[in-house]
Amino acid sequence: MSATKLERLRSADYKAPGGKLVRVRLKEEQGQIRSIRITGDFFLVPEESLGKLEKMLEDVPLREPELRLLVDRFFRGTGAQGLGVAPDDFVKAILSAKETV
């Protein structure tokens, strides 16, 4: 018997104060991120690092302390530089994602 799927789709359009738009589309299952796509009109160098952040966010609980820890680790570890978006904006965008049908 297959496990019951309790996957929910969540999305958010979060505007960083004085900055850019971060658009989040994610699949959540039992309080954890199963997969996530982050798009928007922000700047991030190196550009390829966004895919790494998305990968790192998989299976992470949708809770502020865990998300903040992981996003901070991403920026420290990759040396990525954001513009129009701060590390905290990614956290806030993800946390503000509401369930969509």
Binding site: L21, F42, F43
Partner: protein, 255 residues
């Protein structure tokens, strides 16, 4: 005095190849094979989306079909812009560590490398100002947007200047998210943007703006621009990037 190469190679009816060349030049500049370069170019009706954007979310596909507007993704971040023949594009490619942008901070790069364009627009009589994060405004309205990157051992900055573009088509083909308009306190994208023509109150060609830009860049950065040609390696790389990346749906339309 430092000399920069001025390149005006463009493929007006092939925005995909235009964007491929946009990537090829800084790559070769970073390798030290090509000199510091400014490129001026045009696209026919095209939406150019930022590398992190979702075409599905940002673009009105139906309006694109109706107006014959192509969609292409660039390799730099930032927001979607509309190009037509009334829009002048410029791109500056420097080697990393260049005296103008020594610290490798993206906001400083945008500010410093927008100054030439600001100076050019002021020479035309506009009260142009750089507005962080990446805009040039006249009386609070955006007339130019820029994007850029620091990679491949190069510092790259490009922008588009709305000279006499069709703002009606722009308003139709771009889906500007509500959160963005609300933050800017405007009802529509047309109310937030303007053109050089509208601000000057007279007809003006992209050529005239290009000439003013050349003057602005030369005086602002203390350089002399000299018309040059592309190197064979740049053409080959642009063709390769066109084949493997910029002509492909998966690059332009996904996610």
């Amino acid at each position: 005095m430092e000399t920069w190469r001025l390149v005006e190679v463009e493929y007006r009816d092939n925005p995909f190849l235009n964007l491929a060349l946009e990537e090829a030049i800084p790559r070769l500049v970073g390798e030290g094979k090509a000199p510091s370069t400014v490129r001026f170019w045009h696209n026919s009706n095209t939406i150019v989306i930022g590398c992190f954007q979702s075409a599905k979310l940002e673009v009105n596909m139906e309006a694109c079909k109706e107006t014959g507007t192509e969609i292409v993704r660039r390799f730099t971040g930032g927001g979607a812009v509309y190009h037509d023949s009334g829009n002048l594009n410029y791109a500056i490619s420097l080697r990393k560590g260049h005296r103008l942008v020594p610290d490798g901070n993206l906001q400083s790069v945008f500010q410093r490398l927008s100054e030439g364009a600001v100076e050019g627009l002021r020479e035309l009589g506009l009260k142009a100002e750089f507005q962080p994060v990446n805009d040039i405004q006249v009386d609070g309205k955006k007339v130019s947007g820029a994007a850029g990157s620091i990679r491949w051992n190069a510092v790259f900055h490009h922008g588009c200047i709305l000279v006499n573009s069709d703002l009606n088509i722009l308003g139709k083909v771009l889906n500007v998210p509500r959160a963005k308009l609300e933050d800017k306190h405007v009802a529509s994208v047309q109310k937030r943007v303007t053109t050089v023509r509208d601000e000057l109150g007279r007809d003006i060609s992209t050529r005239e703006v290009r000439d003013a830009m050349v003057g602005g860049i030369e005086s602002c950065y203390g350089v002399r621009m000299e018309s040059g040609v592309l190197m064979k390696e740049e053409v080959w790389l642009a063709e390769e990037l066109y084949q493997t990346k910029y002509s492909r749906l998966e690059w332009n339309l996904e996610p």
